[in-house]
């Protein structure tokens, strides 16, 4: 083989992996876009997909909004005030949970790490609930000052405490015990669940949404200010995590080799823990705990394109968004006119995955 031919070969190998990456991401992006349009039209007020596209071109306040025919004005209101913020919140939450899950799995070197399972979402929900119930007057004042950004401050503290606890308990000298991680997760989740339950009973009806909301999650209360808040906080954290994807790859060789490859493992851990806590905390403060997305989305991606984090993380973001939109669609249509909490659907979807993974990892966990 002459040298120019072999150079070509390696250029092809490199570009093939980039091609795979862009093909997967574009494909998933298109699937997500189609799902958004379809889901926006499904519900008590049904809107045909073409009309959804037309109405999307005429946001409230624009000149086009004025020219919406009278019989479509109700559809437009439903679309812009109810469906779209709900979909946007779903997409952002799905991305935050899936990317956080993928990052945790790389950091803890096992595929079972998931924000819901190990209590990070629980910590966020508990501190959000505590702030609402015990915050009283100054919580109202804080809300007046910074609006939707008030609650996630507390949720972030809760998820950060839970994340740090999980890391401290389950890792020692650069090694992670999967069993300890899961057990610590059970303990933290149970404690958070119990305390949230207690809060819902002390609180007045006005203060507190239901126990169901916190423990099973819902996208039903979505508003545009919430979407803005989650886009700012979870969105930026997701970008930070995506930037670490190549460094997270090297952790597969263990912490020692990662640092010999030039990664400051301590710093990487700190950055990722803070970003995971913020991504999850901000989302959970307005959606409650939606489980298993962080487990299922990265796992599905790894099954189909392999474990390279540089592809797994962005692809999992899109798959997470798709999964949450599908789950929410099911949750709000299966028992119309009432809604099933979306966490019930994601659990039905996720638990079989979790059990299958557990089954495959029996030996590694130590049975």
């Amino acid at each position: 083989m002459n040298s120019s031919a072999s150079t070509m070969q390696f250029a092809t190998q490199a570009s093939r992996s980039l091609q795979l990456r862009s093909r997967v991401l574009i494909g998933l992006g298109i699937a997500l876009a189609i799902l958004v349009v379809l889901a926006a039209g499904i519900g008590a007020v049904s809107i045909p997909p073409l009309d959804v596209l037309k109405l999307l071109m005429s946001p409230p306040g624009s000149a086009a909004w004025q020219s919406i025919p009278q019989e479509q004005i109700q559809q437009a209101m439903v679309l812009w005030n109810i469906r779209l913020p709900r979909l946007a919140l779903g997409v952002l939450t799905g991305m935050a949970l899936a990317v956080s899950g993928a990052a945790m799995q790389a950091l803890l070197r096992n595929p079972l790490a998931e924000p819901g399972l190990v209590g990070i979402s629980g910590g966020a929900a508990l501190f959000a609930a505590l702030a609402i119930v015990l915050g009283g007057g100054w919580m109202v004042a804080l809300h007046e000052m910074i609006g939707e950004f008030a609650l996630p401050i507390f949720a972030f503290i809760g998820s950060l405490i839970a994340t740090i606890l999980i890391f401290v308990i389950s890792t020692r000298q650069g090694k992670t015990s999967i069993a300890l991680m899961l057990l610590a997760g059970i303990a933290i989740s149970s404690l958070c669940g119990a305390l949230i339950g207690l809060m819902t009973f002390i609180a007045s009806d006005l203060q507190m949404r239901s126990l169901n909301f916190w423990s099973l999650g819902s996208l039903g209360a979505a508003t545009w200010p919430m979407v803005t808040m989650v886009a700012c906080l979870s969105g930026s954290s997701v970008l930070v995590l995506l930037k670490q994807s190549s460094a997270l790859n090297t952790l597969a060789l263990g912490e020692v080799q990662a640092s010999l490859l030039g990664i400051s493992v301590r710093r990487l851990n700190q950055i990722c823990i803070a970003a995971i806590a913020l991504a999850v905390g901000a989302a959970v403060s307005v959606t409650g705990i939606i489980g298993f997305i962080g487990l299922v989305a990265p796992h599905l991606v790894r099954l189909s394109v392999g474990p390279d984090q540089r592809l797994v993380m962005p692809a999992a973001a899109l798959v997470g968004a798709i999964l949450i939109l599908l789950s929410d669609l099911l949750a709000r249509t299966i028992a119309m006119p009432t809604e099933v909490p979306v966490g019930i659907v994601t659990a039905l979807l996720g638990v079989p995955f979790f059990l299958a993974l557990l089954f495959r990892m029996r030996r590694k966990i130590g049975i």
Binding site: S6, T7, F10, A11, Q13, A14, S15, S17, L18, A106, R109, N110, P111, S246, A247, N249, T250, L251, A252, L253, G254, V256, Q257, S259, L260, L261, G262, I263, S264, R302, G306, P307, D308, R310
Partner: protein, 262 residues
């Protein structure tokens, strides 16, 4: 030049290494030998910068390891460890490409694929490229790890390069053991690469190393040319093993054979 100056290592109240003095120049292959528990792995971890010395200093290219930036060091120094476990189902090629991370820190470029492929050829592992690392045998995993560390310091760097091998031959059959040490020898012969390898088999070390360092109870008992170390007296003092000296029929490399103990 790798310089270990009056260095010791304590972990808790335990002294793992003491009074270590060792100079290793680029172009040289130094084998570290010694009985189990002598501190060989601790020494190589000290040389890699993973462990910081409790006493004294380790200098690379005239600068203490602790003052090097992790990234710059990563482009010049690589360590192959024993028992390398890998999480998730990366293929052999993907593992080897991880060795290129310090050079691109993001997306693998064509030259990274080229180097990974060449490194695989070097260790006779090209056929393993697309296999999942965790499904490989111990010997195959060792060769893939060897290819990965070679890929990490493949190109001539701004300064000298350092290749550290912690029992690279542990899981290998005799043919592969020779192959790996032959590669280590070739790399030392490049001139700008210093190679340090922990080798259990003294005769294997004698065939490929320039110098042998004998370590016992955390102290360097002797460091020197193969001929000066491979004597029955030296070996018996280090290993408590009575032995006789032989000469390899090809080229006369000194070899040691143990006496049967009754």
């Amino acid at each position: 030049m790798l310089e270990v100056i009056n260095t010791g290592l304590n972990i808790g109240s335990k002294t793992l290494l003491s009074d270590i003095n060792l100079m290793i120049a680029p172009g040289e292959l130094v084998a570290i030998c010694g009985p189990n528990g002598a501190g060989k792995s601790s020494l190589i971890r000290l040389l890699s910068g993973e462990l910081k010395p409790s006493v004294g200093e380790v200098l690379w290219d005239s600068k203490p390891l602790s003052e090097w930036s992790l990234l710059k060091l990563a482009r010049q120094r690589a360590l192959m460890q024993q028992h390398a476990e890998v999480g998730f189902s990366y293929t052999a090629l993907e593992i080897i490409l991880l060795g290129r991370h310090p050079h691109h820190q993001g997306t693998s470029r064509p030259q990274d694929y080229q180097i990974a492929t060449a490194a695989m050829e070097e260790v006779d592992a090209s056929h393993l490229a697309d296999q999942v690392y965790t499904t490989l045998s111990g010997g195959e995993q060792a060769r893939v790890q060897m290819a990965r560390v070679l890929a990490q310091i493949w190109e001539a760097a701004a300064g000298p390069r350092l290749l550290l091998l912690d029992e690279p031959t542990a899981a290998l059959d005799p043919r592969q053991q020779h192959r790996i040490l032959d590669i280590a020898r070739k790399w030392a012969n490049k001139g700008d690469v210093a190679v340090v390898a922990i080798v259990h088999d003294l005769n294997l070390a004698a065939q490929y190393a320039d110098r042998i360092a004998l370590l016992r109870d955390g102290r360097l008992q002797a460091v020197g040319e193969v001929e000066t170390i491979m004597t029955p007296a030296m070996v018996e003092a280090c290993f408590d093993l009575p032995c006789v000296l032989l000469n390899h029929p090809d080229g006369g490399t000194p070899m040691i054979a143990a006496r049967r103990q009754l």
